[in-house]
């Protein structure tokens, strides 16, 4: 039975900052968000109707029209395409008789593209009503569509056994595989949940906790690498009646999926890390911002949070520490890469569009609801538990001088063993290729750090992963020489940035698309030398965008021009300094048809 919208709104205390949650519930309930409901939401939350509309229309997974009884979102990442997405897509379209972006006339099935869903090691993959389907083949698509025809519930449509580890958990029951290939301090099974809260925190002051984290030299794992201890200290010292710890589990960088594995296998480690951060900073509330694509983990995680409350690892006087109150809630996103940017993530959590804020002020001074807020990556918060357990000095021994500790790498693409590898910083790309079972003679390029990172060639494979050399949030995509680098990778990544721009900055809203069109011109063998120069120049303008998304949106093209210039040069016309894109036959077709005359093209 349909839940009343009133109930949903009441569930969130008529709080307009919980608009995201309200919309998520309505979307999941109805399969779309009808106008009469948005009107009701606006009235009940006492905001204008356009406020509801502006948040709603921002996110990929909110729809103002029905998305079908079975809403199928097929991942469109570069690796999905490398692994056979096209055939899967064609099968979906042939069998349903509709094109992607549409719903079948009977309203049963909706087909939609979606940006990377964090399953790069088991592509092609799709979300069907929020459940994940991996390793899709045309055969599997037909099975799924047959099940849909039979009216099966989505949970009943799995044919394979459930995935490994906790993916089999009663509350997850998913075919997703963890593919953990190498373990270190974070992924190690040697961990007793709550041990730091019970044994360490009671004996330490918050300042001592911060000192220990500083000693470990750990830097943020999201990619930017800000020293964690320092961030906590800033927040601790900032004035504010309430403080917040955010865990950034938005993991939207195509090719990254390590946070999904942590959320599945080590969520307690993460929650303990947040409690530690809360203690150090003086925060009372923690929020895990989880990307929409991982909604299938929701019940499992909620259950663990309740378990932690029951065991006094969350709640009041945690670990017996008088006056230390801290609780955690989950905040789900609704499909927006930019929400991985910390201030956009905060905006989104406040029920707004995920537009990055202008900084300063930084979140540590003025974050969630205007209060001092720490935003840390999933992996950072997990690492901190081990730092406190074994000491900062112990942790600092891992890795390199400027990059201490370990890093979870999400490795995918052309290799035998895609999956998650926990390696010490300082690993070379070559080591990783060997470890993942890539045929080194055939690897033409590696994308380090996802689309916003760099595309490097074999002459740079001896470079090492660390903040001083190749900084990365953890995505590594291996591309062998069977691929057309510019079409399969660079164009796909550029399209990703076009799709995911929030549109707030004039630069990022427009230039990636202009670069995309120019790249297509070159790929179409119509390019001239000036086009390459233009791409380089236009890419520079993007650097003045507000946030990291905009600043790096040109990187797929810029780094490939830098490292694979010959691919561009061999496609351009060398004897021309100008090339029109004008095509007379195409341009006069419609008018000649309208007038009923045969085009004279001589």
């Amino acid at each position: 039975m349909a839940t009343n919208v009133q109930d949903i709104i009441t569930k969130y205390n008529k709080d307009k900052t919980r608009l995201m949650d309200v919309l998520i519930d309505v979307q999941s309930e109805h399969g779309y968000i009808p106008k009469d409901i948005t009107k009701e939401i606006a009235r009940e939350l006492d905001i204008s109707h356009v406020d509801v509309e502006q948040t709603m229309s921002f996110y990929h997974f909110f729809s103002e029209t029905p998305t079908g009884k079975y809403a199928i979102f097929l991942n469109d990442s570069a690796v999905a395409n490398m692994m056979g997405r096209q055939k899967v897509k064609e099968t979906f379209e042939r069998e349903t008789g509709i094109k992607f972006g549409n719903v079948t006339p009977d309203g049963a099935i909706g087909l939609f593209d979606t940006s990377c869903i964090g399953m790069n090691d088991q592509e092609p993959a799709a979300l069907i009503n929020g459940r994940v389907f991996t390793n899709l083949t045309p055969f599997r698509v037909k099975e799924i569509l047959r099940d849909i025809k039979d009216g099966k519930a989505v949970e009943e449509m799995y044919s394979a056994a459930f995935g490994d580890g906790e993916n089999r958990n009663e509350l997850i029951k998913s075919v997703v595989q963890n593919n953990i290939r190498k373990k270190g301090p974070i992924l190690s099974e040697d961990y007793t949940p709550g041990i730091v809260i019970w044994k360490k925190l009671p004996e330490m002051t918050p300042e001592q906790v911060i000192d220990e984290v500083k000693k470990s030299n750990i830097r943020g794992r999201g990619g930017a690498g800000f020293p964690t201890g320092l961030k906590w200290e800033f927040c601790r010292k900032a004035a504010g009646e309430k403080k917040y710890i955010f865990c950034n589990a938005d993991e939207g960088e195509p090719g990254t999926f390590k946070d999904r594995v942590i959320l599945t296998e080590r969520p307690k480690l993460l929650f303990e890390g947040m409690v530690i951060a809360g203690y150090a900073v003086g925060a009372t509330e923690g929020i895990v911002y989880v990307r929409h694509e991982y909604t299938y983990l929701k019940n499992y995680l909620e259950n663990l949070l309740q378990g932690a409350r029951d065991r006094n690892l969350l709640g009041k006087n945690i670990g017996g520490i008088e006056g230390f109150d801290f609780d955690i809630r989950l905040q789900f996103g609704a499909g927006a890469y930019v929400c991985g940017e910390e201030s956009a993530l905060i905006e989104s959590s406040e029920g707004k569009r995920g537009e990055p804020r202008d900084r300063p002020p930084f979140p540590v001074e003025k974050g969630y609801l205007g209060m001092p807020t720490v935003v840390n990556n999933v992996e950072t918060l997990c690492s901190v538990v081990k730092v406190l357990l074994n000491g900062g000095e112990w942790y600092a021994k891992f890795g390199t001088k400027d990059s201490s500790g370990t890093k979870l790498m999400s490795i995918s693409g052309d290799c035998k063993y895609p999956g998650v590898y926990e390696v010490e910083w300082g690993f070379s790309v070559k080591d990783i290729l060997e470890m993942a079972g890539a045929d080194e003679d055939r690897v033409q390029a590696v994308q380090v750090g996802g689309p916003s990172g760099s595309l490097i060639g074999p002459d740079e494979f001896s470079r090492t992963l660390c903040f001083a050399d190749l900084a990365t949030g953890g995505s590594l995509i291996i591309i062998d020489n069977s691929r057309d680098l510019l079409t399969d990778i660079v164009l796909n990544f550029t399209e990703f940035f076009v799709e995911e721009s929030c549109g707030s900055c004039s630069t990022c809203r427009n230039i990636p698309n202009m670069m995309k069109l120019k790249l297509e011109k070159i790929l179409d063998a119509r390019g001239i030398a000036q086009d390459i120069t233009d791409l380089e120049e236009w890419g520079k303008v993007l650097k003045v965008s507000r946030c990291g998304l905009g600043q790096t949106a040109g990187n797929p093209i810029l780094t490939s021009i830098k490292n694979f210039r010959h691919l561009y040069e061999e496609k351009i016309q060398k004897d021309k300094d100008y090339d029109t894109e004008f095509d007379m036959a195409a341009a006069v077709k419609a008018s000649c048809e309208a007038a009923g005359r045969i085009p004279n093209l001589n």
Binding site: V50, D51, G503, T507, R509, V544, S545, R546
Partner: protein, 232 residues
């Protein structure tokens, strides 16, 4: 205790109240930093990026960054100005800006900036997007062809109880400004007038009015935008 801070713009010693945004601080010191989405008295947003300056060699939006003691700001260099010109050109090709037929021509800030930077032709290809004119509101006309999505109307126009009348819809290249039908229909004359005035381009227009000032006498026909600040 003095709350003045000292900073430098292009090597020139300047002073301003602590916490003043760079754009305002520069203005007080007789230095013009080009802006477009910014408007005095309204919370800045840094969305057009035209006011980009280098602060301690990093690009920052001058309208949102407060000055601090000892800050070194670089504003007027060929590279920065070319970036600004690029952005103006981006805005021209993004929409359908046919100046000769526009009611705002001569008083338009986008056009005035293009004049200041002597834009002869945008370096980017024209997009000729399919945009609409929304004439459903009783007091104003919203021409999406000319909208540069600066967010001024969103930020500045609120109802008495603080509700948004304008808002963004969608994202990225599909981004557009929408007007709340209910709140928009109940616009007071003052608020409608304010919306028209606050729009830097000809995207929000009053109904049944236009072309009231002859060519040659409009705001930017003879006077360079920003020159009032530079003269000081």
């Amino acid at each position: 205790m003095s709350t003045l801070v000292k900073f430098k713009i292009d090597g020139v010693e300047c002073m301003a109240e602590r916490g003043t945004y760079i754009v305002e601080a520069a203005r007080e010191n007789g230095i013009y930093i080009p802006t477009l989405c910014n408007i005095r008295g309204v919370k800045p947003r840094g969305s057009c990026r035209i006011c980009t300056v280098l602060v301690n060699s990093r690009p920052m939006s001058a309208c949102t960054t407060p000055v601090t003691d000892g800050m070194e700001i670089i504003n007027d260099t060929p590279e920065i100005n070319d970036t600004r010109k690029s952005i103006i050109e981006v805005l021209f090709v993004e929409g359908n800006h046919f100046c000769p037929s526009c009611e705002k021509s001569g008083n338009c800030e986008l056009q005035a900036l293009a004049y200041r930077f002597q834009m002869m032709v945008p370096r980017f290809p024209y997009i000729f997007p399919n945009k609409t004119v929304d004439a459903s509101n009783p007091k104003i006309i919203k021409d999406h062809n000319r909208c540069i999505l600066c967010k001024r109307c969103i930020r500045a126009i609120k109802t008495d109880d603080g509700k948004n009348v304008f808002a963004f819809k969608k994202r990225g290249m599909k981004l557009e400004i929408i007007i709340d039908p209910e709140l928009g229909d109940n616009f007071t004359d003052e608020l409608a007038q304010k919306a028209v005035e606050i729009c830097p381009v000809g995207a929000i227009l009053p109904r049944e009015k236009g072309y009231q000032i002859p060519i040659g006498k409009r705001k930017y026909d003879q006077v360079v935008i920003g020159s009032d600040i530079e003269k000081k």
